[in-house]
């Protein structure tokens, strides 16, 4: 039974999230395949870039230079680990809204992403050869789109896989259900990653659902669901890699619940201190995904501290340069509101 496949393979009949790296970076599942060294290096670099981008964009918003911004702080392993398992050349990315590092790796240039935050709408357009949907502001509505894209690729025999993201809150929407059920019926090549960061704005997942594990929902759609430690890049990568293999082999969708924590605010207009205990946040930072992967990589000799320090500087420079380019793009004129309503 496909569902058991996932459980057996995840090695935990009780459905505890799969973990490969302990919080201190120790490898606890040497029995499972590990990513190639340069995958780990790429992951580290992308996670550092993401973190620097969150910082910079928050500052820009505080300066009134951009509008609302939603950081991915603390969720980097869940997003980067899953995206590293797909191939942007043939696979589709269907983001929710805060998966910036996935959008960047998929091919949306950093200056274009920044342009979108600066309201330079035309410059922010996703390049024609990048197989990615724009951010979605209507929760869970992207999921039927993802199913349709995956379905089209199986109808057309294209072989691409669709990687879609949604949050824990999104799992309560009717669209989540209708999309998952259709994906199961049509056996589409879809990998759905639920980023369970414990909150939907102020609503904790305990008020969102009484389900023990969101991944349990998959059984009701006839495909496998796996819960994984979302702060553990190795675990997320391996689970997603397996799901992508299934999808490419025509075995249909997989649901992955990446259990992580929204360390930052919901977005720049939110004040989490109104609804959650600082102690809880402190506790969560002990599970920091970047620290965990860094520790592993250092111990495994994949990087050294100097290289990490160099990364920190590089990514800031990269953001500076991209921001400069982004600012050089024209701001939209008023006539933009009449364009692209219909084709001509």
């Amino acid at each position: 039974m496909t569902d058991d496949w996932a459980r057996d393979w995840a090695g935990d009949p009780n459905g505890h999230p799969l973990q490969c790296l302990a919080p201190d970076g120790q490898l606890v599942r040497p029995d499972l395949p590990r990513p190639a060294d340069d995958v780990v290096r790429a992951a580290l670099r992308l996670m550092l870039l993401s973190r620097a981008l969150d910082q910079r964009c928050t500052t820009l918003q505080r300066q009134g230079r951009i509008g609302l911004y939603a950081p991915v702080l603390g969720q980097e392993a869940a997003v980067v680990g899953s995206h590293l398992a797909i191939d942007p050349a043939v696979d589709w990315l269907v983001p929710a809204s805060r998966e910036q590092p996935a959008m960047l790796r998929h091919g949306w240039p950093l200056d274009r992403l920044l342009a979108s935050l600066l309201g330079r709408t035309e410059a922010a357009r996703i390049p024609d050869d990048v197989k990615m949907l724009p951010r979605q502001q209507s929760i869970a509505t992207q999921l039927p789109h993802a199913v349709g894209i995956a379905w089209a690729s199986s109808i057309r025999g294209l072989g691409g896989v669709t990687l879609a993201y949604c949050g824990d809150g999104a799992t309560s929407e009717g669209d989540f259900h209708e999309a998952c059920n259709l994906a199961g019926v049509m056996r589409v090549p879809l990998v759905l990653v639920i980023i369970n960061n414990q909150y939907a704005i102020s609503t904790p997942v305990s008020k969102q659902t009484r389900a023990g594990r969101l991944a349990d929902r998959a059984r009701g759609y006839g495909f496998p669901g796996v819960a994984v430690d979302g702060n553990d890049l190795l675990a997320v990568y391996e689970v997603t890699r397996q799901a992508v293999l299934r999808a490419r082999a025509g075995q249909g969708p997989t649901m992955i619940e990446a259990v992580t924590y929204r360390v930052g605010f919901h977005n720049t207009s939110d004040n989490p201190s109104l609804y959650r205990d600082p102690a809880e946040v402190l506790e969560a930072t002990a599970h920091d995904p970047v620290a965990r992967l860094s520790a592993y990589a250092l111990q495994a000799g994949l990087v050294n501290q100097d290289a990490l320090d160099a990364h920190e500087i590089e990514v800031r420079a990269e953001i500076d340069a991209a921001l400069e380019r982004a600012l050089s793009y024209p701001a939209p004129g008023p006539d933009e509101i009449f364009r692209h309503v219909f084709g001509d």
Binding site: R125, I126, P134, P144, H145, A150, W151, A152, R156
Partner: protein
């Protein structure tokens, strides 16, 4: 394709689906019961056999049907989705208004959605609740969406072919009581010449009756009675495309006749008739004799059973309004 033929509306729609699927293997059909059964009205009958692997019975989930169509289009296909009855498009309304209608605008043209949503609608068949609602005003209030409504078999074919060819999303409204009750010639090879403009279905110099879909026939019946019993010569304008409205065609037909009555099955308040009135008084101030009367359903939920006869605009009500309009100096 081929020579012109006499068909009923349902056959014309089926022919358009068949020819569109023949023309391009990108065209796929999806919806509840559209496969083996051929839909609850048999509109898609035979398509599954003729185009194996391109006709899909879906689960009972309208938001998934519309939302997946968005994805199918982005994935390179041309989906023609059936919503079993227009009333149930509200189950998918967020996918229609937020997603289907806005993808081109949101993506600044990176994505456009050649999606057609077909839905039976309108009264006269004693259908259960929600199965006869007319929601065209709400769809016309949604920028980025086109809305077509055939009243005759020729448009059942021409407008559906145009909808499927359209690079942007079209909601195609099928007047269910006309499926088998109206027959007429259908032009296949030359359908494109029909264009998307409003079209006079009857000539007449004294008065203009403006309508679309099922009530075009109510207007034609009223026009006959007006002619025969009252000597009033009324023209009937079939709007055909409800969004974007053919303002030029509308004004041209109205200007020369001055007296206008608008007729629709949708409820009165904030119905599409109000837009037509507002448009005419804006573009032809002083030309049109006022008031422009509206003959519509009342502001009530669609009633059950025989009560729909009292709810729907009848040709009697149209005649009455028309006589009022012509009686003014």
């Amino acid at each position: 394709m081929g020579a012109d033929r006499e068909l009923n509306l349902l056959q014309a729609i089926r022919a358009a689906l068949t020819d569109a699927m023949d023309d391009s293997d990108r065209v796929v059909v999806l919806g509840q019961d559209v496969g083996r059964l051929g839909g609850v009205f048999r509109v898609t009958e035979g398509l599954d056999d003729r185009f194996p692997g391109r006709v899909f019975d879906t689960p009972l989930a309208e938001a998934a049907i519309v939302g997946a169509s968005v994805g199918l289009a982005i994935g390179g296909l041309v989906p023609v989705a059936e919503v079993q009855f227009l009333g149930f498009l509200h189950q998918a309304f967020h996918q229609v208004t937020q997603q289907l209608a806005r993808y081109r605008f949101r993506s600044r043209g990176r994505f456009h959605l050649p999606v057609t949503i077909r839905a039976p609608y309108g009264g006269g068949l004693r259908m259960p609740e929600f199965h006869a609602d007319s929601l065209e005003a709400q769809l016309a209030n949604t920028p980025g969406l086109k809305v077509f409504a055939p009243a005759f078999p020729d448009d059942g074919y021409a407008l559906l072919r145009a909808a499927i060819r359209d690079p942007d999303p079209v909601v195609f409204l099928e007047p269910q009581r006309l499926y088998r009750s109206v027959r007429g010639p259908v032009r296949f090879d030359t359908f494109a010449e029909a264009g998307l403009g409003a079209r006079l279905r009857r000539e007449g110099d004294d008065l203009l009756l403006v309508s679309w879909g099922p009530t075009v026939h109510t207007c034609l019946a009223a026009a006959d009675e007006l002619q025969d019993l009252h000597g009033v010569r009324s023209a009937v304008l079939d709007l055909r495309v409800l969004s974007p409205i053919d303002r030029d065609g509308l004004c041209e037909a109205a200007a020369s006749r001055k007296r206008v009555v608008v007729v629709h099955e949708g409820v009165r308040t904030a119905g599409l008739g109000a837009e037509i009135v507002a448009t005419l008084q804006e573009l032809l101030p002083g030309t049109i004799s006022l008031p422009i009367l509206r003959v519509t359903a009342p502001d009530s939920p669609y009633p059950p059973g025989r009560l729909e006869d009292a709810f729907l605009p009848s040709s009697d009500k149209v005649v009455e309004a028309a006589l009022q309009a012509v009686s003014r100096p």
